[in-house]
């Protein structure tokens, strides 16, 4: 018997149907992943199951049977028992899901009481220990702000477990977390699921997480499921054109030097009417019939269903149109950008007189070297200081020590004509009150706006519009055009694709490689996304707590990592083949205000020895380019 049976579930917001006829089953102990890009309706589906839809939305039809009981018609009072009791839910943002003025223990105790369990302190501590919170007895008395993001997510999971749920719904549970923490939380979820025989409904946009966690997968597009398959079959041979393109759009080492496959356009806006297939406007395999008739469900293999007119998936692998851009014009070896011993400290002020009592050593002696026309990736987890490095090089932040030299000449302060920055959040990087034309011409009023827009793949007539009319990917293109207007030889890209969907990320990555080939740009690419590094970068520098711990060419660092942190970082990245590597680090990164003595990594390092606690390791060279800061690098 299935634990959960969803049939023809539809959600309406006004006349629009953000979820339209979704149907799937979930057996006890099984993990079903709903995969989709932003706006596909996957989160709304989960909220509809729990009957927690926002005020504007309502369930427009369909049925949700949970353990034989119809949830859609259950009175609200009974539903409250199901919610948080037999069905638990965890959300993306652990920070906003916990009440900041109650201790963790009190919140879990409350969840226990609501569901009729004993709310004794032992039970609370037991739950906290079960989700892997060290020193649970003490942590139970702490407030959410005293916990790191990963710890908060664990506490959320403990709360969801309080009702002994048979089904746990996890909505992007690790998207706000760093990869090493993400790996820990995913493992925790898996272990808990095994121990308790819970079913897990996992909602995510990340194919890697799906590969690691799911038993079965449902791909959603524009409010509908388009493909449902067991994991092995799905990863071996995705059938729906959309799924196939999602895979092909992922950057990785194999795609290096080639253009990525992109899905043209973007997700259709809410309220679009679809006479035929919903994907037709972006589908490379579209046929005339696709425009007229909604595709039927077909089951080419047992348990593998796909909603497409295509009889059989084309055998040929997808490849992107257009040749790979030529390797480098003017790519040299002479350093264009040279950073020496860069330090950026932020004072910590306390008391009435605001005296400086200490420093946050956001960047603590970083050396970088970047040649013209090359790409250097600066990799690290959040809070390691990588963005601060970028801003200090650009001159937006005054360095505390060390210096930057550009083309051999030392540089102080801003140098607009030499380097520009592309920021992470496309929604905050454009002034909403200015037209696109004015934004692009911001740094150079004489710039040829039309040519710049065309250079980044937009049309010239978009200059008269305002940013809010554009999608995230288009905004990022505008931001790139704005930076290019002053013709800088160097672009600092701060996580330029991490706020974008996979298909759009591929477009931007293609654009960046094209621009590099055409204009000979050098990129300092700041990111936490290893796959992007593998696809794009020439050299890599790995940063931990304000310092570079390993540097080298992409092949050296990613194929043959020597530093324990790099190894753990790479191992933590979820892989498409679902294989999991053992090297994992425990705990959270320490605060840069109070770095551990000796090697910064030693509290988490599996190889740490006594020596590591007292002295910081010098950098050891393994080749002309490969250097590692570790006593025991092998």
């Amino acid at each position: 018997m299935n634990l959960l049976e969803v049939r023809a579930l539809s959600v309406a917001i006004g006349a629009a149907r953000p979820v339209d006829g979704v149907a799937f089953d979930l057996a006890p102990g099984e993990t079903f992943a709903l995969l989709g890009e932003s706006g596909c309706g996957k989160s709304l589906t989960a909220l509809a199951l729990m009957r927690l839809l926002p005020a504007a939305a309502r369930i427009a039809g369909g049925s949700v049977r949970f353990a034989g009981e119809e949830l859609c018609v259950l009175p609200e009072a009974r539903m409250r028992d199901v919610r948080g009791g037999r069905i638990g839910m965890i959300f993306q943002e652990p920070g906003t899901s916990l009440n900041p003025v109650m201790t963790i223990g009190a919140q879990i105790g409350e969840a226990l009481r609501v569901h009729g369990g004993s709310a004794g302190r032992e039970r609370v501590v037991e739950l906290l220990a079960a989700v892997g919170i060290p020193d649970a007895a003490r942590r139970a008395g702490e407030y959410p702000f005293q916990l790191s993001g990963g710890m908060k997510q664990r506490a959320m999971i403990a709360m969801a477990l309080a009702g002994e749920p048979e089904l746990l719904i996890a909505d992007e549970p690790t998207t706000a977390l760093d990869v090493t923490i993400q790996a820990q939380v995913l493992d925790l979820l898996r272990d808990l699921q095994r121990q308790r025989g819970m079913a897990l409904l996992l909602i995510t946009h990340d194919l890697g997480i799906v590969a690691r966690m799911a038993d079965r997968i449902g791909v959603m597009y524009a409010g509908q499921l388009v493909e449902v398959a067991p994991r092995a079959a799905f990863f071996a041979a995705p059938m729906h054109p959309y799924s196939r393109r999602l895979f092909a759009a992922l950057p990785d080492a194999a795609a290096r030097g080639q253009r990525l496959v992109t899905i043209p356009g973007s997700v259709p806006p809410l309220g679009t009417q679809f006479p035929g297939c919903r994907f037709v406007a972006r589908c490379g395999d579209a046929m005339p019939v696709c425009r007229r008739e909604p595709p039927p469900w077909r089951t080419p293999a047992d348990g593998h269903a796909v909603r497409c007119h295509l009889e059989a998936a084309p055998a040929a692998a997808l490849s992107a149109p257009g040749a790979a851009p030529e390797e480098k014009l003017g790519a040299g070896t002479a350093a264009q950008l040279e950073v020496r011993g860069l330090q950026v400290y932020f004072p910590i002020r306390r008391g009435v007189l605001r005296r400086t009592v200490g420093h946050v050593r956001a960047v603590d002696g970083v050396d970088l070297r970047l040649a013209a026309g090359r790409t250097l990736a600066l990799v690290g987890e959040s809070g390691c200081g990588k963005t601060t490095v970028g801003k200090a090089i650009l001159g937006l932040l005054p360095p505390t020590g060390g210096g930057v030299a550009f083309a051999g000449a030392p540089q102080r302060g801003l140098a607009p004509a030499r380097m520009q920055m592309v920021f992470q959040d496309p929604f905050n990087s454009l002034n909403p009150r200015l037209r696109v034309g004015a934004i692009v011409a911001e740094g150079n009023p004489a710039a040829d706006v039309a040519a710049l827009l065309e250079q980044v793949g937009l049309s010239a007539d978009m200059a008269g519009r305002y940013p809010h009319e554009f999608s995230g990917g288009q905004r990022q293109r505008i931001a790139i055009a704005r930076a290019l207007a002053v013709r800088p030889p160097l672009l600092i890209c701060d996580e330029p694709t991490s706020a974008l969907d996979v298909s759009v990320q591929a477009q931007i990555l293609n654009l960046l490689t094209d621009l590099q080939a055409r204009l000979g740009l050098a990129y300092l690419f700041i990111t936490h996304n290893i796959a992007v590094v593998d696809y794009l970068a020439h050299e890599v520098a790995v940063m931990y707590l304000g310092r570079i711990v390993e540097r080298g060419t992409v092949a050296e660092v990613l194929r043959d990592p020597r530093h324990p942190y790099t190894q753990a970082l790479l191992a933590a990245v979820p892989r498409l083949d679902g294989r999991r590597e053992r090297v994992q680090v425990a705990g959270d990164p320490p605060s840069p205000a109070d770095p551990p003595p000796g090697c910064h990594f030693h509290p988490r390092c599996p190889r740490a020895q006594a020596r590591c606690r007292t002295a910081y390791p010098e950098s050891v060279a393994f080749s002309a380019t490969h250097a590692v800061s570790c006593f025991f690098a092998a």
Binding site: K391, L394, G395, L396, L414, P416, Q420, M421, F423, Q424, D425, N428, S429, L430, N431, P432, R433, L434, I439, E442, G443, N444, Y466, H468, A479, R482, A483, V486
Partner: protein, 447 residues
């Protein structure tokens, strides 16, 4: 020339403000996000109704700001010392038909008994000089007369409304989609109230008379200008300081921020009423010691009014300044500001292009929200005697005199009631409008 126009300082500022508002409208029509936001105001029924009511108030205030001095009869070119306004001229009937003392609304007899020196002698309620004078001795006909006048007034109101309806047709055609119906309904209600009042006012004191026999309706209409001036000029005075200092503190940071914060925290911690009382008394002394500065008593009262605006402004800029500082602090870290800095854009240009337009909605909301608070503040301050000049007609001074009237036996209630109803309508309209504006300009509002 039959008269000499007089431009009081407050008139000049009021006109300036109106011109600025019109200019602002023209500007907003060209800037998309402002146009969209104001459109949302226009699409709200509450917004249009409140705006119509506010416009009616502004129209009265405007008429009352066209000041002049009448030419005295005689060969020599000489002008009366009294400064009058267009409103006074319109309402000259109301202004000149003063009774001896209190009379109730629509009364024909005085409110207080008096010793009659006519043949009968004794004490009785004397007949009013103007109230219902046209009735002669036929007092029984008063009810019928009131009815006839009311009906006539309703008719006139209806006709006036129809005329306005026709006149506004091009406007409605120019901007379809706005909640014109709400505006028209409000207008109809206004006309249907104003018509009968106007008709009745020809022969009666619709809202009674005060202690010295002045028509209360006249007083309330005159109070509107004072209220509007206090509500708008104060904001005008404090706005530049609040915006400039708020942006500066937020953007520059460092010691500038510390100094500005220190100033407004200090100002904020002094009780506002004390500060205002001290400043008003000082101002009063100064005005009294320099009678030669002012040609007419109107100018003197005007100076005091402006001084009050200035003082209120000085004590009220801190709230907006603090808000703007916080918002600027947030915007300064936003990526488009960082991008502009990286492009080498100057600080001044960043402030004017990137920060100011993005805090404009806060300024907008602050202006409309402060308005009603200031109107009420004037009433309170005048009530305790540190507001406008006692000769200036305002809601506050009316309420101040009502203090004694309420203690009388029987009670004289109409001055207070009239002031209350008018002030309530003004403040309610302003508050409703402010709410709509806040919703429309809230960046989180749905697009």
């Amino acid at each position: 020339m039959m008269f000499k126009p007089v431009l009081l300082w407050s008139d000049a500022l009021f006109f300036l403000l109106l011109a600025a508002a019109l200019g602002g409208v023209a500007w907003a029509a060209r800037v998309e996000h402002l146009r969209v936001a104001w459109r949302r105001v226009g699409q709200s029924r509450t917004g249009m109704a409140a705006a119509t009511l506010l416009l009616a108030f502004v129209a009265v205030g405007l008429l009352d700001s066209l000041h002049y001095r009448e030419r005295l009869p005689g060969e020599k070119e000489a002008y009366a010392v009294e400064v009058r306004s267009a409103l006074d001229a319109l309402l000259s009937g109301l202004r000149t038909r003063t009774e001896k003392t209190y009379s109730a609304p629509l009364a024909t007899h005085s409110f207080a008994k008096e010793t009659l020196d006519a043949e009968g002698g004794g004490r009785d309620f004397p007949r009013l000089k103007y109230g219902g004078a046209h009735l002669g001795d036929d007092l029984a006909g008063q009810g019928a007369d009131l009815l006839v006048r009311t009906v006539q007034g309703l008719g006139i109101g209806m006709v006036a409304w129809l005329a306005l309806w026709l006149a506004s047709a091009p406007l409605r055609r120019a901007a379809p989609g706005l909640a014109w119906n709400a505006a028209l309904v409000t207008l109809l209600a206004l006309c249907l109230v104003a018509g009968p009042v106007a008709a009745l006012a020809q022969g009666y004191h619709v809202l009674g008379t005060d202690k010295v026999g002045q028509d209360v309706l006249y007083l309330t209409l005159k109070s509107i200008r004072t209220g509007l001036l206090i509500g708008t000029l104060t904001t005008l005075i404090m706005l530049p300081a609040a915006v400039f200092l708020g942006l500066l503190a937020g953007y520059a940071g460092g010691w500038l921020d510390d100094v500005i914060q220190y100033v407004y925290t200090t100002l904020n911690s002094i009780p506002g009423v004390l500060l205002i009382a001290a400043a008003v008394l000082m101002m009063q002394v100064m005005i009294d010691t320099h009678p030669d500065w002012f040609a007419t008593s109107a100018e003197r009262a005007d100076a005091r009014l402006l001084a009050l605006c200035a003082i209120l402004g000085i004590t009220s800029w801190t709230g907006l300044c603090r808000l703007l500082r916080g918002e600027t602090l947030k915007l300064r870290e936003l990526e488009y500001v960082q991008a502009a800095r990286a492009l080498g854009v100057s600080d001044l240009r960043i402030l004017s292009r990137h920060i100011l337009p993005n805090v404009m909605h806060i300024v907008m909301i602050a202006i409309v929200m402060d308005f009603s608070g200031l109107v009420l503040a004037e009433a309170v301050l005048s009530y305790v005697g540190i507001g406008v000049d006692p000769n200036t007609i305002s809601f506050g001074t009316m309420i101040n005199t009502a203090r004694m009237e309420l203690a009388r036996e029987p009670m004289v209630w109409w001055s207070l009631a009239a002031a209350f109803v008018f002030m309530f309508a003004l403040v309610l309209a302003a508050n409703l409008f402010a709410d709509v504006v806040r919703d429309a300009f809230d960046p989180r509002a749905a697009r």
